[in-house]
Symmetry: C2
Subunit: 689 residues, 2 copies
């Protein structure tokens, strides 16, 4: 038992606890406020009900799955063949439940804060103006960010400490704690896929019947799907995104931990817990950043968010240099961390270039909208595809540098570095949907034009942060999945996985195909769910003409119910495929085929995710560019074509694209867990051939 | 010097010569006929001029590139560092020129026959009816098929024989003859990419201004771009497709040859030339099939083409069983060949399922067209993505079986088996555009409705064969590229390429990205070229109102010129990227990174190619389904949405998708050639780190 290790783990736990206390302090501050506006409060209560209803049902399904897997893991642990694989058994099952629980808690707290901040931002814009509204939205986001990082790290570091105390071995602790990561992955899978389907089904349904057929503006309270649309933003863009990044965060730390245990350059004990320490440092940096931002008055949203990011990143840079020198007596781990941070920053900039209306690509798509729907689609498609080139080159350069610095462990550290300030990333990413919804509420509550102007200004930054956030999520997922892949090979005791072996090739081809199948499934799910929504909205308009006249209230709850039921139903099949495929591949064809599956899906999913996110963003902003008056503005033929692109891009960027992140991380996590077991008992193919 | 080897090679050469004589006999038969119809002959002469002008200019550019590479190869051969690599030097350079020359000849002869058959089919339909027209179209296709297989095999087998006689080593012959494959690859690159850009630029240009803006029907002689459109069908769908399959054919044989040389199970001399013998057998089978079809009268086009395929395949199956037992004393090589044949058949069926209006997917896309442009796009996109699943499973099963039978050599044999009856495949694939153009000519020459009915009936089969042909091309390219990849590893002396090595991972990620970049480039090229065409057609309509009134003739030549210039200009950049990337990757990062690049691009390109081909086909036939009267038929909102899908699908399925085939084969071929040199001199990274 190493005292220094226990001390550092205790410090990490302390940092996580403090960040959660800070989150609850901010939450208390937020809850002290009230909208003091009847209509806002009424709408807020609808949204709150909707989100909680969805979350409750979603968590029930997740609990069912988690319970099932936990029991399976426990039972398998009693089978002698698996007894050597520490990642399977009741301890891992417990970690698994923990991981799911803490991820679920983070999602719940973040979303509660988000929905509360929605209405408070609208009311702040109404009563106190820009500065107050900006601060409210940022506080809402901060709570979400702190709870994602805080809960994620607390559960993980506590699990590691307990396991270390119980087993007196960091290596064993590393194997068992994988269960924690898998738990987080499971929640992320359902939250991202379910949330993604929910938000787009509601969005498309609300738009197609409300805006296009009935001709009422966006966020009009007469639209029965308008509350569902707002609920969708919360469950998809706040809870879904948060769980995605929590999974990356936890996954990156776990993989760096397990790779650190195997380190031969430094003392394994220190390399193993070093990533946890960097994560804790990041968490403190995030708290400092939030405190600084909250202590001053701000007018310019973009500048505020940029400064928040700078403060957090610079703090981490300085602190990791100190720790790198102090604990590992080398500057190399520091550079590996910085590499990750830089990759994250660059990928974000690239995403901005391809999706912001300030640059050529979006202007190109807008320009091509003039010749019709088809040319709009083709050009957006081409822009997204083109964007993969430079993104991948940056990623690949980062991987190479990290590896040259610290071998596989370097890749793990780069992933941790990229995700160390995840608290602020989530805060900024949540700020977007909060501002967006504040605008929606302002519209629904019939607030003045000045109020809407403030929320629009807040929201315009949100559009950019959304695209950047997606780029970051993909980069983080790719790096994390890669680090997990390395950990898997390590854990399964494989030294070499040659792409000259046909089983590896087969795995690779099937792996490359899976993201396509997954995309097809999730896109179709959105289509089906949206259709149900469309029919319901049409039905309400038809059966109660008073709705359009504004004399009677639409049945919001019914629409929320439809989105909820559809999203939860539709998320099951993709989830099962994501879980079953690596298990089947591994146990039938062996660990090498499984490795092929992982790397094939990683490469394929990364490209599809980048392509879909940037195509979607480019279409979205090309539409907005035209709406600002270009090429005839709203109602022109160019605008109609641009709306087509935006509608196609919606499930691309908000459902299928983000689902790719989860797919590759979840499969890697499953592989990491079952790999040693397969290595022990052998695959079906090996037994029979 | 092994006498049996020389004898077999002589037999193979003999079979190739006979097939070419047969092709020229058929051509002479065709040229004896004349359209005997002034208007048809006039149009035919325009098309002929256009195709020859394009081909002449294209061949000049190809000659420039080929000359440059040949000189480079020769010069490199004198550098001591490369002297150990037999694949580099003047002998390889000569083979390279040969490969380009024979591929060019095949393309030239095939296209000449194709353009001639266009007008003769129209005139046969006009004077003699269905049976005669069908036979004429089939004969035109047969000449193309025989010249692709005949020229491809003749040059290859003659080169092998000469090299064997000169070096007395099949191993050395195998290394040097790779140059021949590279030559064929180069021609295929330009022919497929240039032809693909040409055909779609002309098509989109003709449609958007003619059909949509001016409201005149398809193939109306008043449309200035109508001849360019017809020329495009010939250069893209006949010459481009032929060179693609010729490359696969030659590549498959070369890889099986080099893997055969390394065989330890059987006598290497026999395993090396066995694939050549199978190819020769296939060629004879194709001749038998063509003779049988031509000796009878046929009424049903689909049935005729099916019977042609059956005859060729059954002959090959029987003959390869005999040779397998006779020469290799084992039934396993036979089964490997059959596996390849079956994979080809299944992939073709799958493509038919996803793109024919008889089945669910196309009906789904048509159905979704009712709710607008966006839903049409999304559903077609989802259909294409979904189609990758079962296609890849079939391919993967084939790879596994072939490998279990005969190791890497089995994969080579499977590729050869799939391509052994390439003559009939090309014949049927060429039949499609011939019938299509015959219809166009009938329209332009103002022939009676009965004539148009006959050509329509011929063409309706052509649509199905086109989709099937594309599926086959992708399957063949993937299997060939995989076999070439194995040969590359073999030639470069690499036993293991582990995906745990970061250089391999980097190569793999960059490889997976390339097809996206390539797609983006080619799609944008089509857009730019189409825009030029649109402007020209608009200009002609505006400056000469007599064109629309039918009193003055449009300037067809100008449109042909624009398409030609644009296609040739636009094909350069993608070509350079395809050639340079593997070279840079190899010489800078080494053979393992290059291997990663190959396998990454193979997996990624296969998915994109399948997805784009089937999405494109589904959109196309969904439009046709609606045009047949469904959901309001022509002019309805559903039809407009379906036209959008079709327009998006055009560059997908006819430009970007087929370009994927070339990309992966060309890069594998380059790797195969430079691999040994890199192994000898080492990579830049190895030298400096």
């Amino acid at each position: 038992m190493d005292k220094q290790t226990i001390l550092i783990l205790a410090l990490v736990i302390g940092a996580a606890v403090i960040s959660l206390l800070y989150a609850f302090f901010l939450k208390a501050q937020l809850y002290k406020l009230s909208a003091k506006h009847e209509k806002i409060e009424e709408i807020a209560s609808f949204i709150k009900e909707g989100t909680q209803a969805f979350l409750k049902k979603e968590y029930k399904i997740i609990a069912l799955f988690v319970g099932g897997v936990a029991i399976l893991l426990t039972v398998l642990g009693f089978i002698p063949a698996f007894s050597g694989a520490e990642g399977i058994g009741w301890k891992a099952a417990l970690c698994f439940v923990f991981g799911a629980l803490f991820s679920g808690l983070a999602g719940y707290v973040g979303m509660q804060a988000g929905t509360k901040a929605n209405s408070l931002t609208a009311s702040a814009a109404n009563t106190s103006g820009m500065s107050r509204a900006l601060k409210t939205a940022f506080t809402g986001g901060s709570i979400s960010g702190l709870s994602v990082a805080g809960f994620g790290l607390l559960g993980l570091s506590a699990s590691v400490l307990i396991l270390y105390l119980a087993t007196d071995s960091l290596a064993l602790a590393g194997q068992i704690v994988i269960g924690y990561g898998l738990g987080a992955s499971f929640v992320a899978l359902f939250a991202r896929v379910g949330g993604g389907i929910y938000t787009k089904a509601a969005d498309v349904g609300a738009d197609l019947v409300g805006k296009v057929e009935a001709g009422i503006p966006e966020d009009d309270p007469r639209n029965p799907a308008v509350i569902a649309d707002n609920v969708g933003d919360n469950v998809g863009d706040i809870a879904g995104m948060g769980s995605d990044l929590l999974e990356s965060y936890v996954g990156a730390i776990i993989s760096a931990f397990t790779l650190g245990v195997a380190s031969i350059i430094y003392s394994p004990a220190i390399t193993a817990i070093f990533p946890l320490l960097i994560a804790a440092t990041g968490l403190i940096a995030v708290m400092i950043s939030i405190t600084v931002i909250r202590s001053k008055e701000w007018k310019n949203p973009q500048k505020t968010l940029n400064i928040a990011t700078y403060i957090a990143n610079i703090t981490v840079v300085v602190a990791s240099l100190v720790f790198s020198l102090l604990l590992l007596d080398s500057v190399k781990p520091f550079f590996a961390i910085i590499t990750g941070l830089l990759v994250g920053v660059f990928i974000a900039y690239i995403a901005e270039y391809y999706t912001s209306d300030k640059f050529k690509p979006v202007k190109e798509v807008a320009d091509e909208s003039q010749t019709g729907h088809a040319t709009n689609i083709i050009s957006g498609y081409a822009v997204g595809m083109r964007s993969t080139a430079i993104t991948i080159i940056v990623l690949v350069a980062g991987i190479l540098v990290a590896y040259l610095l610290e071998d596989m462990y370097g890749i793990g550290l780069a992933a941790v570095g990229m995700l160390s300030t995840v608290g602020i990333t989530v805060a900024i990413d949540s700020y977007g949907p909060i501002s967006d919804n504040a605008g929606g509420i302002a519209e629904m509550a019939d607030l003045s034009k000045e109020v809407r102007d403030i929320t629009d200004k807040l929201d315009s930054v949100g559009n950019t942060t959304a695209a950047i956030g997606k780029g970051f999520c993909i980069g983080a997922a790719t790096l994390t999945a890669l680090a997990l892949f390395m950990s898997f090979a390590n854990a399964a005791g494989i030294d070499s996985i040659s792409i000259l072996e046909p089983l590896v090739i087969i795995g690779l081809l099937v792996g490359a195909m899976l993201p396509y199948l997954f995309t097809s499934l999730t896109i179709n799910s959105v289509g089906r769910a949206a259709n149900k929504m469309i029919n319901e909205v049409r039905r309400q308009f038809k059966e109660d003409p008073g709705i359009m006249e504004g004399t009677s209230k639409p049945d919001y709850a019914k629409c929320v119910e439809i989105s909820t039921a559809a999203a939860l139903k539709e998320m099951i099949l993709p989830a099962i495929i994501a879980v079953i495929t690596p298990i089947l591949m591994g146990f039938i064809f062996g660990n090498k085929a499984l490795a092929g599956l992982l790397i094939g899906s990683l490469a394929s999913a990364a490209m599809l995710a980048i392509f879909m996110a940037n195509s979607g963003g480019a279409w979205d902003n090309a539409k907005k560019l035209i709406e600002s008056g270009l090429y005839g503005g709203k109602g022109s033929e160019a605008h109609k074509a641009a709306v087509t692109g935006d509608t196609v891009g919606d499930p691309f960027k908000d459902t299928a694209g983000p689902a790719m992140d989860i797919l590759i991380k979840l499969m890697s996590m499953i592989a990491l867990m079952i790999g040693p077991a397969i290595a022990t008992i052998g695959s079906l193919l090996e037994r029979f051939f």
